[in-house]
Amino acid sequence: MQTELITINMGPHHPSTHGVFRMRVTLDGEIVREVEPMFGYLHRGLEKLAEGRTYTQIIPFTDRLDYVSSMAQNFGYCLAVEKLAGIQVPERAEYIRVIVCEMQRIVNHLIAVGFLINDLGALQTPLQYMWREREKLVDLFEMLCGQRFTYNYMRIGGVSQDLPPEFLPALRKFLDDFPGYYAEFEELLKGNEIIVSRTVGTGILPRQQAINASASGPVLRASGVDWDLRRDDPYSIYDRFKFDVPVGTRGDNWDRYRVRMEEMMQSYRIIKQAIEEIPEGPIRAKVPNLLRPPKGDVYAHIEAPKGELGFYLVSDGSIAPYRWHVRAPAFINLTALRDMVIGGKIADLIVTFGSIDICLAEVDR
């Protein structure tokens, strides 16, 4: 029988591309033979724009990189500038940063897993459950900085505002409730035979390939590489907290889903420890309004929810960076997509793509 391959442009308009991402997929019936990812539909030239802004003015840009986890992006950028200018951050600010970053990780993983299950075809329900928890955290962020999205909360040398007095009690209440709701997610999803059969053994990213592709974050850990910057290259005050790094074995969609779920619980542990230890004190170091870091370049990286988020800054001694480069974890994880899906079914392509957890604003910048 004579057969032909079909080439389909999935996206930039497609219900499950998580933004304006386009894949040119060559199909043999239902089997994926070739995938050609195409980025750039959301390119806003942030890296170039940043060269004309002062160091403080760039912080809102970082909000718009990965808008699902803005706090982590703020954190990474401020860390880079502080490293460049040699600024010492007050103790209390460090704690606040860690707390909001781990809250942000929970938010990000809730959304990632929710949309992954949505891509699996469970229309809305798990997503709505996760959305409920996310809403509580976003309310807390609103209490903190007045924003529910694109927070612009951190400043070079600290954070913009101190915790309001009602914040910590509200956070404690959330933390008390969270394990119960977490158990609810596990009950709803973990034992579901369809989810298991759809995710186990699909979209495999072998260990060696994950390392070669320079993948990071949950994608790397799911492939069995025990690598977490919070533990292996501690920045800020992460060396003070006790937490485990969940690691997968096969590197399939199931492992990526499980790693994210487990990480939520570890973030929960970190927040618990942090709110017990948080000291009183100033929240921002004395930093001049127009910061002029010394000439030179710096690379600072953090473990963002999606992976290793790095900022590379080149300073020429003026008020604006000479070069501002972002190592976007989603972008680099996405480069492994092709190898993960070739030979699988088209349905697996969607699920694998969802399990990488990209945010297109970060991919295209």
Binding site: A122, T125, Q128, S197, K345
Partner: protein, 380 residues
């Protein structure tokens, strides 16, 4: 015990006569057809609206939402608002579409849905031809026409996503016809009749209890025929946009929507009549029992949609051919033996059959694995 249906010339004349003899319908043959023809259309359209409202209101609390509540009391007028909106929409036909096929598909998909109601009795003797002596055969035959309509829609749209959905539809629907037919066959063996009304009359015990395996298989196959979760691969939104009706808009799209919900009513009604003893029930008016049961069956379908993700195409096919088909054959064999040796409608057979069903389902499941391996398999 098994009464073979009477064949031959008499068949046709008996179509009109039986409902008349049951004493409810009007004496005039044409008045009967006119009344029930219009009645069925009105019934289908009203219940479709009811179903749409019911689904949206019922799924909303499961998804932590409220659901439509702005139009009319409890949002009851939401389907009306939807209908008005959809009728006012522009009808767009893709330039490269096969115009005739594209035009015919939405009609062809709705017709069998309405036809199925011809043989379904709302209560004893109430229906267009409720006592048709090949009623069950008619249901299975008419129900499978839908495959052609779906394929026409997918092919005629000249859209690659639609073609993918069309290919899936043929594979899926043809595969699930088989265990479905075997499940129905077991019912026919026990009741000894092909007439849908007679099957309900025979059900002193609901066949869902007496033939649990047939009931489960029919229910699963009905989900596949309806393209509902977890078998909604034809319109898998996250994969192939809207599947075969991606390129339809306006009233043509509404026809697909109508057919989808009409099909849901039809399958719920068939499950009700074949397995849940139709209109039978205490206290209430029989017709009301029928509608309550139809909504209950649909409620379970909606519940599944709220809770479950979708299976993959190879898992779908594997499930039909490797799991359901052999088991439904075994089930048919068991039921046939029971029919030969005992009058099958006996209470003590209920626990026996449930035990057999549980044993077969779990025993076979031990040998049947869907998980993983697809990537490796297809590369070989």
């Amino acid at each position: 015990m098994i009464h073979l249906p009477e064949c031959g010339v008499e068949t046709f004349s008996s179509w009109g006569r039986d409902p008349l003899e049951s004493g409810w319908a009007i004496e005039n043959f044409w008045a009967h057809w006119g009344l029930f023809g219009v009645g069925i259309l009105v019934f289908v359209l009203t219940i479709v609206m009811g179903f749409i409202w019911f689904e949206r209101r019922f799924i909303a609390p499961m998804q932590l939402r409220i659901g439509p509540n702005r139009t009319g009391p409890f949002g009851l007028l939401q389907p009306v608002a939807d209908a008005v909106k959809v009728m006012l929409k522009e009808d767009i036909v893709p330039a490269a579409a096969d115009k005739v096929v594209h035009f015919l598909a939405p009609i062809l998909i709705f017709v069998p849905v309405v036809l199925m109601f011809a043989v379904i009795p709302v209560q004893k003797g109430v229906g267009l031809i409720p006592d048709l002596n090949v009623g069950v055969l008619f249901l299975v035959a008419v129900g499978s026409i839908e495959t052609i309509a779906v394929f026409m829609a997918g092919w005629g749209s000249n859209n690659k996503y639609s073609v993918l959905a069309a290919m899936r539809s043929v594979a899926q629907m043809v595969s699930y016809e088989m265990p479905m037919a075997f499940a129905v066959l077991a019912v026919i063996l026990v009741s000894g009749s092909l007439s849908v009304q007679q099957i309900v009359v025979e059900q002193s015990i609901p066949f869902a209890l007496l033939l649990p395996l047939s009931f489960i298989f029919y229910f699963i196959c009905a989900l596949a025929e309806l393209q509902r979760t977890p078998f909604d691969l034809l319109e898998a939104e996250s994969e192939i946009i809207a599947g075969y009706h991606t390129e339809y808009s306006g009233m043509k799209f509404a026809m697909f929507y109508l057919a989808e919900y009409g099909g849901a009513i039809a399958q719920s009604a068939i499950i009700t009549t074949l397995f849940l003893s139709g209109w039978k029930g205490p206290f209430l008016w029989p017709g009301l029992w029928f509608i309550i049961k139809v909504f209950a069956v649909f409620g379970v379908i909606v519940w599944m949609r709220a809770a479950w993700p979708r299976v993959r195409i190879d898992q779908l096919m594997g499930f039909a051919w490797k799991y359901m088909l052999p088991l439904s054959l075994i089930n048919l064999f068991v039921v046939a033996i029971e029919t030969i040796f005992w009058d099958p409608v006996q209470w003590w057979l209920v626990p026996v059959n449930i035990a057999i069903a549980v044993g077969l389902l779990s025993g076979w499941a031990g040998m049947f694995k869907l998980r993983g391996g697809a990537q490796v398999e297809s590369q070989g």
